[in-house]
Symmetry: C2
Subunit: 442 residues, 2 copies
């Protein structure tokens, strides 16, 4: 019954204001600071969600658009309905539960994450963000509290396949992307259709920036920093920009037996110098920037032939596009010196698959920090080195992200683990931050 | 007619000694130092041989057992017959032309090389050794000279596929090797059969050490040393031993975005340090030793994942097995330090495909040197970094090898090139050395 009533409320708040008091009360900061999510319920729901696609190793195999993905979303829909949310599925297959606010003219505060996993993934990546958001909805419902802003709780579609749902919401999903075959074996278009979306009218899923107050997401860290530093809460400064290059090193393939050491142009020797240079240049500066060579191919690739050509990948990530540009410039200069020293030639081809940095909103960072402090939790400002739906939402609205510790920094693995207390701490920070945003002007 | 007569001579020398003078004369050193091979004929025959399997790029595609290989051997057989040799094909498909000596109780001096090429190879690798040997036979025949020892001129079968003919002659060819499918598409057994051999009775191709005086081979250098140093003749000190290892470096695969630089166990970073260490350790000592990392694989091999595991090849070559052992020991010690510094683990698995060093006979080296000097040619002692049929023959008899310059050190390529004068110089050194061996006691 509530969904209908909420819709009624939503459109009639100015006229029927006096009536709210009967059923729902507006909440003041002094009151809401006492609210807590239901920890055991959150933990139990995470276990329940993990049953959809559970693997013998204790992980979860719930790739987007698979049967298990579809079934798990039906489960999440029931949780939304139980929290009194008005549920819909948008054209991109995003599952959205809405809660009216006191003032329907105010923009929506959006909160959520995704429920799909990588093949053979873990229980927490995405799932925490979805279920912690639904805990917030449930707590508000149980306390019969109305926020000032309308709230929407969202389960994005196919995050692991390339932020599909959130890209559509940001108006950034191309029709070409719809034809990509996902891990489920379906095209993304077919997958969206199977989730209840309408890929032929994807533009209708696009959110209007002026109708969004903020986006907030909680996620496991996926790095080992919080665990190592024994910090409860990570305040994400932004989602790093990512640049990729294919680096080609050319030397001269030659007989490994007959070519003396001093007559070689060994492309792999040049590559080895380059890999060390990338590492030392990236580490030479303070900051969270990272640089990785993850892929390498030596040609012809036989034990008895000096490599004549090596192709390797270079990835640089940082919160600042300027820093990435400066690092790359330094790396390229270093490569020129290596080329001279090893008799090789370097060339760099930028790869299209890059992401621009998505900073979080400074005000939301502060609200997360004060929420953590009030809950007696330690916090640390840090970049998110991984991509998230939040980075697409940052195109539309002020964005904030909360991290909780992740054991060993392991993610995308059955070994992914976050301790119950960390899950609960994070969800409480999410709830408090959500309520603070509701009362903030920015 | 000569083959029959020569056979007759061979078995009757003691009795019919006086008769030789009528047709053939024994030769004294003062005489034979004047003998020269027919340079234009050698060059023209190399061009003719290169027509079998000639490619548009100017190279030769005459893999063992192919139609062109079979046709070229028929051509070589006619050259043998024209040189008055008694021709046979042994069970391993080796084409052998024999010339009797004055004393049939003396062991045979064997001289030759191979006529097969790698796919899309060049005109000189193998071909020079075969045709220069046949020039020697032709010169002796034209001068009606009988050597003291019987001479045999040999075209080994399938050198490029793994020294097949010479391994069989050394009794080292396994029956498993016969089942390998060669570049021709035929098994080696079938290929040998198509050359006129009898793979079912391969043991009959085995040569007895006490019936061999020496083996002598001339070959293009396949390295760039002689050309660079402007030296006419390379005196091979031996064919290097080759040891291969698979080196595995284990780190921890991790998210390239979320794992800070100081929390990584990057297997590729360990590998890069290792590649540089191999290079510097091998170069730190004087000598001709070489060390190569030619193959590398990083896992999982994605631009956005820190490599958790790298497998690479290590190859060490030297004339001395002790030097190889010492270098490897030093490399392994260095790897342990790298492991500590990078948080990785190294393991080394020796690969079966190794060759023990095959030194040339010191006396033959001296004979090559004096032959070169007498011909007014410069010479340099050097290792052979590449494998040759000669290394198998070294198991049976004193072995010597002569190198001539190879442009740019390029081999196994249509670009393979040795200037006519270098070919002629080498063949003359071969002839003189052959005759000196005939008069030497060792």
């Amino acid at each position: 019954m509530f969904p209908i009533f909420s819709h009624f409320l939503l459109t009639t708040v100015p006229l029927w204001g006096g009536l709210f008091g009967i059923f729902y009360s507006a909440v003041e900061p002094l009151q809401y600071s006492e609210f807590r999510i239901n920890g055991p319920r959150l933990v139990q729901r995470l276990e329940r969600l993990a049953e959809f696609g559970s693997t013998p190793e204790g992980g979860v195999n719930r790739v987007a658009f698979s049967d298990q993905d579809i079934l798990s979303r039906a489960y999440l829909r029931t949780l939304m309905e139980r929290a009194g949310l008005d549920v819909r599925i948008d054209e991109a297959g995003n599952l959205i539960g809405r809660r009216p606010g006191l003032d329907p003219s105010l923009p929506v505060i959006l909160c959520g994450s995704h429920s799909d996993t990588v093949p053979h993934g873990g229980k927490y990546d995405g799932a925490l963000g979805v279920l912690a958001a639904l805990e917030c909805a449930q707590v508000l419902e149980e306390n019969k509290i109305l926020t000032r802003h309308p709230l929407e709780f969202i389960v994005f579609s196919d995050e692991e396949g390339g932020l599909i749902g959130s890209r559509a919401a940001a108006g950034e999903l191309s029709s070409e992307a719809l034809q990509i075959v996902s891990h489920s074996g379906k095209t993304i278009a077919q997958g969206i259709r199977d989730l209840g979306g309408d890929p032929d009218n994807l533009e209708l899923a696009r959110r209007e920036p002026d109708k969004l107050k903020a986006f907030l997401e909680i996620h496991v860290e996926q790095g080992g920093v919080l665990e190592r530093e024994k910090i409860d809460i990570g305040i994400v400064e932004g989602i790093v920009g990512i640049n990729w290059w294919d680096v080609t090193i050319e030397g001269a393939a030659n007989h490994a037996g007959t070519t003396p050491m001093n007559m070689r142009s060994d492309a792999l020797l040049g590559a080895a110098h380059f890999i060390l240079a990338v590492n030392s240049i990236v580490r030479a500066k303070p900051g969270g920037q990272v640089g990785t060579v993850g892929r390498i191919r030596a040609e012809p690739g036989a034990p008895n032939v000096i490599p004549g050509r090596v192709v390797l990948s270079l990835e640089l990530r940082d919160l600042s596009a300027d820093t990435i540009r400066d690092l790359f410039s330094e790396i390229r200069t270093s490569a020129q010196k290596i080329a001279q020293g090893t008799g090789t030639r370097f060339s760099f081809a930028p790869i299209d698959a890059t992401a621009v940095p998505a900073p979080t909103h400074p005000h939301i960072r502060d609200l997360i920090e004060s929420s953590a402090r009030e809950l007696g939790l330690s916090s640390l400002r840090m970049p998110s080195g991984a991509g998230h739906d939040a980075q697409e939402m940052a195109r539309l609205a002020p964005m904030g992200m909360i991290f909780v510790p992740s054991k060993g920094g392991i993610s995308h693995s059955p070994k992914e683990y976050t301790a119950p207390q960390d899950l609960i701490n994070g969800a409480n920070v999410l709830l408090q931050t959500l309520l603070k945003i509701d009362h903030s002007r920015f």
